[in-house]
């Protein structure tokens, strides 16, 4: 465990029913860095990501073994409130999933329910979050309009803004650009660069170039195991493991 690590998993196994989707995963995520999780489809990347903010709680008949330490505390301890964890560890999904509400109400939905904010607080929070997600200029005049009218790329940035409005410490992103065109993808990669100084980002991606471009660290998964974890530069130039090399050079997956 390094000093600046914000999330550390220790010997994590995860089961869907009797199927073991993750085996002995030990990985740490450094604060204010971008870590990419790569690997072929079905290797457990999404499972791991959802494990980090207890979103897997909602899937029936699942089981976790091992520890997931967030700032040193195991988030699977019985006394930990998963709702609190999800406030501090936000998530962006593969498919943009705005609510059928106005743009403004999408952003302030979470903070409003969390309570303690005036209308002006919420307005400035919305502006701040939309600016962080580089969407403000496009929507500042149509905040009252339905979020469903936005393009896919705009919707995804709205979802990022919505997650940021909760002021989380960590942002989990599960293939956030896989449903988007190249221009929208570039915009999201750009905004991630700006978020790094305030947030820890963990991104699952199918796209090797994306991982190489945006991340500081990369973990390569295969069949539910973490095969290799290292600085991104190292993984993409001189990986230690043959499997990693095969994958990043496109020989399988």
């Amino acid at each position: 465990m390094r000093d600046g690590d914000i999330i550390v998993t220790q010997d994590v196994n995860f089961y869907y029913g009797s199927f073991r989707a993750l085996t002995g995963v030990n990985i740490s995520f450094e604060k204010n860095r971008v870590t990419a999780l790569i690997g072929p489809s079905g290797c457990g990347k999404s499972t791991l990501l959802r494990l980090l903010n207890r979103m897997n709680d909602f899937i029936e008949q699942t089981r976790v073994e091992g520890k997931v330490l967030f700032e040193g505390r195991n988030i699977y301890d019985p006394e930990v409130d998963p709702v609190e964890i999800r406030r501090r560890i936000g998530m962006v999904f593969q498919k943009p999933n705005p609510f059928p509400k106005s743009i403004f109400n999408n952003i302030v939905y979470g903070p409003r329910l969390a309570g303690g904010m005036s209308r002006t607080d919420l307005e400035s929070l919305a502006e701040r979050s939309l600016k962080q997600a580089v969407l403000w200029d496009e929507v500042k005049d149509i905040l009252g309009q339905s979020a469903m009218m936005l393009s896919g790329g705009q919707q995804q940035r709205l979802c990022i803004a919505r997650a940021l409005a909760m002021k989380p410490d960590v942002l989990l992103m599960d293939e956030p650009t896989s449903a988007l065109d190249p221009i929208s993808t570039a915009k999201i990669e750009e905004l991630m660069e700006g978020l790094k100084k305030d947030y820890t980002i963990i991104i699952v991606t199918h796209n090797m170039q994306q991982a190489a471009r945006v991340s500081d660290y990369t973990g390569f998964f295969y069949l539910g195991r973490l095969i290799e974890f290292n600085r991104t530069g190292k993984i993409f130039t001189t990986p230690d493991m043959k499997q990693t090399e095969d994958y990043i050079t496109g020989r399988f997956g």
């Binding site: 999800r86 999904f93 999933n97 705005p98 059928p100 939905y109 919505r162 997650a163």
Partner: protein, 289 residues
């Protein structure tokens, strides 16, 4: 050989298509026939007096106003009771219950309830509400009985409406650190509301038309008085038809009144169902996901 079997297949498909068409036609014709028959026979009796005045001369003349009012009270009462109960059950089943024997058992119960003959509900209402709880034959007892009758319809349609809300909405909300209950009340329920309303309105139509459940629990043979409280008896449209058609001494003479009452009842039920359809299609057009 191949050619032949192809032809046979087309022929079979053609025959099947025609069977389906004819079946649909028969149903439509039967429905149209009934509506037409009642309309032709009943429209002569329906005028302003008929709708706004109580019966006169041992129910051989005058109107059916108390029965209209009674039916409206009974069905509204039934929906007011069944909707909160039904929606709560549906929320539990669709959002909270983990699949297992308990839930399977509840589902079997609900489905069986839907299959119970309505006269059994009447007897149940009689023994529980009228006699045991001592509500007497009253709007309260009748509404509660009808509420149980339409509960499965309301639970079923509410559950369907809840299931139709995309899972991604729930995930998006939960991932923001919003609690399960808030997710259900702020996201899931509002988005399921149109479907829930439609189901409840269909429940109204069902409740309005039933005779057996209210026969022992709420319906008065004859009263000119409008109900003053929920403990009063009321006349009701379906029961009024039943009474005129079976219990009078001048059954033949009152045929026009019977058809007139039937026409009013059908117009009421169809009107309510139509409202449900309009609401649903309006919301469908508005919704985009």
């Amino acid at each position: 050989m191949r050619q032949g079997s192809m032809k046979w297949r087309y022929l079979k498909q053609g025959i099947f298509l025609w069977v389906v068409r004819i079946a649909a036609l028969i149903i439509a014709a039967a429905l149209g026939g009934i509506l037409f028959f009642i309309f032709v026979n009943g429209i002569g009796a329906v005028d302003w007096t008929f709708l706004t005045e109580p019966p006169r001369d041992s129910m051989t003349a005058g109107g059916i106003m108390p029965a209209i009012i009674g039916t409206v009270y009974l069905t509204l009462g039934a929906v007011l009771v069944a909707m909160p109960l039904g929606v709560t059950s549906a929320v539990y089943l669709s959002e909270y219950a983990r699949s297992g024997p308990a839930v399977r058992f509840i589902r079997i119960g609900i489905n069986s309830l839907a299959g119970v003959p309505s006269v059994v509900f009447g007897l149940f209402g009689l023994s529980l509400f009228v006699v045991y709880l001592d509500f007497g034959s009253s709007i309260l007892a009748g509404s509660l009985t009808l509420a149980i009758l339409i509960l499965p319809t309301i639970i079923g349609s509410a559950e369907e409406a809840l299931k139709a809300v995309p899972q991604t909405f729930r995930e998006a909300s939960l991932a923001l650190g919003v609690s399960k209950w808030q997710t259900v009340s702020r996201i899931v329920l509002p988005n399921a509301l149109p479907g829930i309303l439609t189901g409840s309105i269909l429940g109204i139509g069902r409740a309005a038309g039933e005779t057996a459940p209210i026969m022992f629990t709420a319906a008065a043979f004859f009263t000119t008085r409008l109900p003053g409280s929920v403990f009063d008896e009321v006349m009701a449209l379906p029961y009024h038809i039943y009474v005129l058609a079976t219990a009078g001494t001048r059954i033949e003479e009152t045929r026009p009144l019977q058809y007139g009452t039937a026409l009013v009842l059908i117009a009421l039920v169809l009107g309510v169902d139509l409202a449900a359809i309009v609401i649903r299609s309006y919301i469908r057009r508005k919704k985009r996901w």
